[in-house]
Symmetry: C2
Subunit: 381 residues, 2 copies
């Protein structure tokens, strides 16, 4: 047995914790200026204003970047990086997009380089980025504990910036922040978290160090997602899903994902679709095939959520999706695409790492079969 686990930041968990974000920022001695990255929808709710007031009162210059929505684009990263210049701390508040923008801005502001300088690992990241506090308001991406950051490049192509230098120094997990997330998004994000954990615990890269987090994440999400979807104000359930999502982020930070994420990224390459929904659809379409591999890791993952063995996982997951109201449909925008189009995206070079990390070989015939299964879904969303 041989493995490495990458460092895990300070984590604070608790309902209402966000109320003292200013206090947490003051914890970074000598912080004089802080950039808050928060998506426009959240910022418009008064959160940004309140926070700015609290920081100013504490003698800290508040700056805000919120001119983005949806997936981050290069221009967002550039704008946030420019605003972060001269600040000491960057705070990301929101879903994966806000966190990814904040993490990259903290690096680019320190070095003065453009984000493209670091895209696809072209150059090493700066060793001393600004301090980073990450506050997820959705429970899914795990970006608060990962070293991966996704954005659309100048030609719209999906690019990534990866490195421990982009990781958070402090993660604030406040379940109360996730309460306003609608049921369908709660379910999609939660399924994404569960699948992060499952894939990290069962793919070719998995190891004992990461399975500690992955199994706990699966237990937390599987045990509480339905309650979080059905009773949005259930803070205990929200908290367990949020913590599970954070642990799943640690698991993928160490071991990455597998075939469900290959499909999910391939779908996103065709037309806009929520990442969590796309991943859930890809997971369900491949899970029986995967469970048949019957590896010790698959059986261990099954037992972590109280099942007898890997055979029981597909039924459990389909039932979980039913209980959480996940409809098996694609957005209407997929009407113009065929199974062949999806299969071609699944074979695209940028999606091969997720294909290769899957525990068994994914043949071209497998890809065709999975693509056909996915594209036969109704396009009614």
């Amino acid at each position: 047995m041989q493995f490495s686990t990458s460092f895990i930041p300070d984590i604070r968990f608790g309902s209402g914790l966000f109320g003292d974000l200013a206090g947490a920022i003051r914890g970074f001695d000598g912080a004089r200026a802080v950039l808050i990255v928060m998506d426009g929808f959240l910022a418009s709710g008064g959160l940004a204003k309140r926070l700015a007031g609290e920081l100013a009162e504490a003698g800290i210059e508040p700056r805000l970047y919120s001119e983005f929505s949806g997936e981050p684009k290069l221009a967002h990263l550039q704008a946030a990086s420019a605003l972060a210049k001269g600040a000491d701390v960057v705070v990301g508040i929101g879903g994966g997009s806000a966190l990814d923008i904040a993490k990259v801005a903290a690096c680019c502001a320190a070095s003065g380089e453009d984000p493209m300088f670091y895209a696809l690992a072209a150059n090493p990241l700066p060793k001393n980025p600004l301090k980073k506090i990450m506050v997820p308001t959705t429970a899914g991406t795990g970006s608060e504990t990962s070293a991966t950051n996704i954005f659309a490049g100048p030609e719209g192509k999906k690019l990534w910036i990866w490195g421990p230098e982009t990781k958070a120094d402090l993660v604030l997990l406040d379940p109360a922040l996730t309460i306003s997330l609608p049921p369908n998004l709660t379910a999609w994000c939660g399924m994404d978290a569960f699948i992060h954990a499952f894939e990290a615990a069962t793919n070719r890269n998995t190891h004992a160090g990461a399975k500690l987090y992955a199994h706990e994440a699966m237990r937390l999400v599987a045990g509480s997602l339905e309650a979080a979807v059905k009773a949005p104000g259930n803070l205990e359930a929200r908290g367990k899903v949020l913590l599970g999502s954070c642990y799943a982020g640690i698991a993928i930070d160490n071991c990455g994902t597998a075939i469900a994420h290959n499909i999910s990224h391939a779908l996103a390459g065709l037309a806009p679709i929520h990442h969590g929904l796309a991943t859930a659809l890809g997971f369900e379409a491949t899970l029986s095939w995967l469970a048949d591999m019957d590896t010790p890791d698959l059986n261990e993952a099954a037992r972590a959520i109280g099942l007898k063995n890997a055979d029981a996982v597909p039924g459990f997951v389909s039932d979980l999706m039913d209980r959480c109201g996940v409809e098996r449909v694609l957005p209407k925008a997929f009407d113009g695409f065929s199974a062949e189009d999806l299969a071609a995206e699944m074979r695209a070079p940028e999606n091969q790492p997720m294909r290769r990390s899957t525990i068994c070989e994914v043949t071209d015939a497998d890809i065709d079969a999975f693509a056909a299964r996915i594209m036969s879904l109704p396009k009614t969303l």
Copy 2:
């Protein structure tokens, strides 16, 4: 539920990993000079010389501090700090003493202050200490993942320096390094690790964040300690105990210990005794009393090691100590002391935090009873 977990360094685990320590040091970009803190016994075995050669070859100036044995004294910390000045990385290789000296030296060398400046939290530690790599060769203290460092002050009194600034940047866990540890030390250190985990998982400070590590540590140590003691060359068992000890270190880094460690420190205040043995004796003497409290945390800890409930823990632990050959005896030096002497140490101010963190009130009558039980043990070691 509300909790914080302190950051966890990069961890590399694997047999033979130590062979590339020079490579790990080169991983810290721009390291020009490295201080290796290694106890005299280890250093005399050729390890220090080989390492120095490898570093010199890589253009890194090697420095060595090994003029210590047993528990660290202020003079050791001062000497190591002086040697660390101008270095970029400090590497601690050995038991808890070597690691504690290395961790403190990395801070004092950065600030130029004397260790006493930081003792008992008198002043804040420097924010930018030298980089630290910790390589435990015993599986017990968990110092590689904790923020606590113990040493004997100018008058011989036990002091501590605490702070996240003293924590490692990288932990190397190489089971092969623990093979030369004799069976009795393997057993004592392993029991210390198990008790760290158990106390952190069941005391007043415990929380879900720390229990993840504590329960895994208990499983790993309880499942493999006997094999590691009886077959010293069993690298798989050694590895599990070493990893368990590391996780137990994370657990106490977040939640501290309890009554067994109160007794252990009190015993050490009377006469020299191995910390692991003292802790095991204190644990066994109090465990039935503790298990009677029947808290959810105690029952959860019991289930983590496959037991039905807390009632079963005392029998399990006594059996584990039997299987690992832990004799219930004190060193001869304790002949001159009475139960009253031990009770007085247990009531000493510096030992009260461990008394207070115990899940139920420890009355003066409890202390007298525990002290009597411990001091009635044969003094034959």
